[in-house]
């Protein structure tokens, strides 16, 4: 802390000493910074980087009942590539997550816009109201949709009570649509908040300038507000897409056989099927898929931002 004062050279300091002092200052900054960051770094390396490296190694092993064969082989990946069920579930997971991301961001944008531009006071109240449901149990929020969409659920029993239907509607639950609705509800705040933050940051004088120069509200939105909110939209999309591809709870509770996703396959290998190496290979394959899609998405978004900007 006193090193700040040390770099301020006195009047008579020779330049060589000054240079040495500033080099020492920079080196000590790096040293102090790294020392302070090192406990957290150590935790992330030992509990995330190392386990994932181990998971990758595991995926090249094979398992026969209880014995693990540590000879390296690509058998697990060949199995994943050769059986269409795995490919189908992978594509379904990516498709469901993609739709959830699109739907959630589209639904969230007008609300974020409303809070950022139309609400003058009480913004905090709105933000608390938006985030409050997300502080309840995730499991029970997902389960709530089973209560709504189920065979004896709120919709069916409500409609039957009103006399609209005689037989319960069966197409509501246990399909990909139920998974999409539930996830769009469960992850809404993760879309609203980043978009709100990027909209709130926009310098309002740009909008006034655009109005002064003759832009109408529609042109102003497309030429200024929307491009400047893109970073929030991108952040929201990534924050929703990556975790939802690997979600386990929602497909298990409301998905049914046609709505199962990657996490269900992985979990089965680690519990019932007891084939950890195959489960590890599935986990690695999904991690690579998700990373590639997220990277592609960021690149496309960057290109888009450059073109508009």
């Amino acid at each position: 802390m006193s090193d700040v004062a040390m770099t301020k050279p006195g009047h008579g300091t020779p330049s060589g000493l000054r240079r040495r002092l500033s080099r020492f200052y920079r080196a000590s900054q790096a040293l102090r910074g790294l020392t302070l960051a090192s406990p957290a770094l150590f935790v992330v390396v030992t509990l995330l980087a190392m386990p994932i490296a181990l998971l990758v190694l595991y995926s090249f092993w094979t398992q026969n009942y209880v014995d693990i064969d540590t000879n390296l082989t690509t058998a697990n990946y060949e199995k994943i590539a050769s059986r269409t069920i795995y490919l189908k579930v992978f594509l379904r997971s990516v498709g469901i997550s993609g739709l959830v991301t699109l739907l959630t961001v589209l639904l969230a944008y007008p609300l974020a816009y409303y809070v950022a531009f139309d609400v003058k006071r009480r913004k905090v109240i709105w933000l608390i109201l938006i985030t409050l449901p997300f502080w309840t149990s995730y499991l029970l929020r997902v389960f709530a949709w089973k209560i709504i969409l189920g065979y004896d659920g709120v919709i069916n029993s409500g409609l039957a009570w009103l006399g609209v239907i005689r037989e319960p509607l069966e197409f509501l639950l246990y399909n990909p649509t139920a998974v999409i609705i539930t996830l769009a509800h469960a992850w809404a705040a993760f879309a609203i908040l980043p978009i709100y933050v990027s909209l709130e940051k926009i310098d309002r004088s740009y909008l006034e300038a655009a109005t002064d120069l003759g832009d109408g509200p529609v042109a102003r939105f497309w030429r200024i507000t929307f491009p400047l909110s893109l970073p929030g939209v991108i952040a929201a999309s990534i924050v929703i897409f990556i975790p939802t591809v690997g979600d386990y709870v929602t497909p298990t509770l409301v998905g049914g056989p046609s709505g199962l996703m990657i996490a269900n396959l992985i979990q089965t290998q680690f519990s019932k099927a007891n084939d950890w190496p195959l489960g590890a290979a599935l986990a690695v394959a999904s991690m690579v898929t998700v990373t590639l899609i997220a990277c592609a998405f960021v690149l496309i978004a960057k290109k888009l931002t450059e073109r508009i900007g």
Binding site: M1, V4, A5, Q29, A30, L31, R32, G33, L34, L36, A37, P39, L41, V43, V44, V45, L47, L48, P51, I52, L54, L55, Y58, P110, L111, Y113, Y114, V115, D118, V124, I128, T131, L132, P133, W135, T136, S137, L139, F143, A144, I147, I148, D152, S157, W161, A188, P217, V239, I242, V245, G246, Y248, V249, I262, A263, I266, F270, A280, A283, S286
Partner: protein
């Protein structure tokens, strides 16, 4: 003139939409307390009668009490550990500039964007390979890892507006490094620390997948709830539990907001 009516219509449309969207967010959640008061084990409309008996069953449910105790232990451990680690890291990232700062920050924030199933499975493989058994300790370790980026984010936003000259003034006036930290830095950062503790506690308390993979016989509360969802006759009691969790999270959020507002008076502006 036509522009202003157009804008007014837009504002009215968005206002209506915002209320409708809030309804979409709240209605499913509010079904939990509603059906927890229903005097029937079938969750269906219309409600049969109002009753508090499901809440009474929670009072004597020892399995649930054990799970709650486990959750509290794990969440307190994860909150304290992740906030302590994040305090040093956040200070390193905001106070010093060094080569490799961005990659190091990126690595520390990585658990935030990793699918939890990958974190859970890879830690399971690690623990089994190293020969450490599963239990509450492995759940706490996993939760500390996923809470860390959130704690770093909260504390960095608090430290970013931090006025360095306050610390320099303290040193110029003759305080030692530790006393400066204790008497100047710490009180200024305190609201951030409390916010981080509350946030990480809540994240750990609600986390399911990692606890599901890394707990053995002693499950946390979400693991207990998961086991109850399969039994229809346990559902009303589970809904009552859900309603209580809803109520206590209202309380925690209100508390966090109160701390944040009290804290925003010193140390400059806070966002929102």
């Amino acid at each position: 003139m036509s522009v202003t009516t157009f804008e007014k219509a837009g504002r009215r449309w968005r206002g209506g939409y915002a209320f409708f969207y809030l309804g979409f967010l709240y209605v499913p959640v509010l079904f939990l307390p509603l059906f927890s008061l229903n005097d029937s084990i079938y969750i269906a409309l219309p409600l049969k009668d109002l009753t508090f008996k499901w809440y009474a069953t929670l009072w004597t449910n020892e399995q649930m009490h054990a799970a709650l105790g486990n959750s509290l232990k794990v969440a307190v451990t994860a909150a304290v550990l992740s906030t302590a680690l994040a305090m040093f890291a956040a200070r390193a990232f905001t106070r010093y500039s060094f080569r490799g700062q961005r990659p190091v920050l990126g690595l520390v924030m990585l658990p935030m964007v990793m699918p939890e199933i990958i974190v859970g499975v890879s830690l399971l493989v690690l623990f089994s390979q190293v020969g450490i058994g599963l239990g509450l300790h492995s759940v706490a370790v996993g939760h500390t890892l996923i809470c860390l980026p959130f704690a770093v984010a909260v504390l960095m936003s608090r430290l970013e507006g931090f006025d360095k000259s306050l610390e320099e003034a303290s040193q110029d006036l003759g305080e030692t490094g530790w006393m400066t930290f204790w008497r100047v830095t710490f009180p200024l950062v305190m609201p951030g620390i409390v916010a981080s503790l509350l946030l990480t506690f809540t994240i750990s308390f609600d986390e399911f997948i990692i606890a599901f993979f890394l707990s053995s016989t002693e499950g946390t509360l979400p693991v207990f709830i998961w086991s109850q969802l399969r039994f229809p006759n346990k559902l009303p009691g589970t809904l009552a539990l859900g309603a209580l969790i809803l109520l206590s999270s209202f309380f925690v959020v209100a508390l966090a907001e109160w701390v944040r507002r009290r804290g925003s008076g010193i140390g400059g502006q806070t966002p929102l």
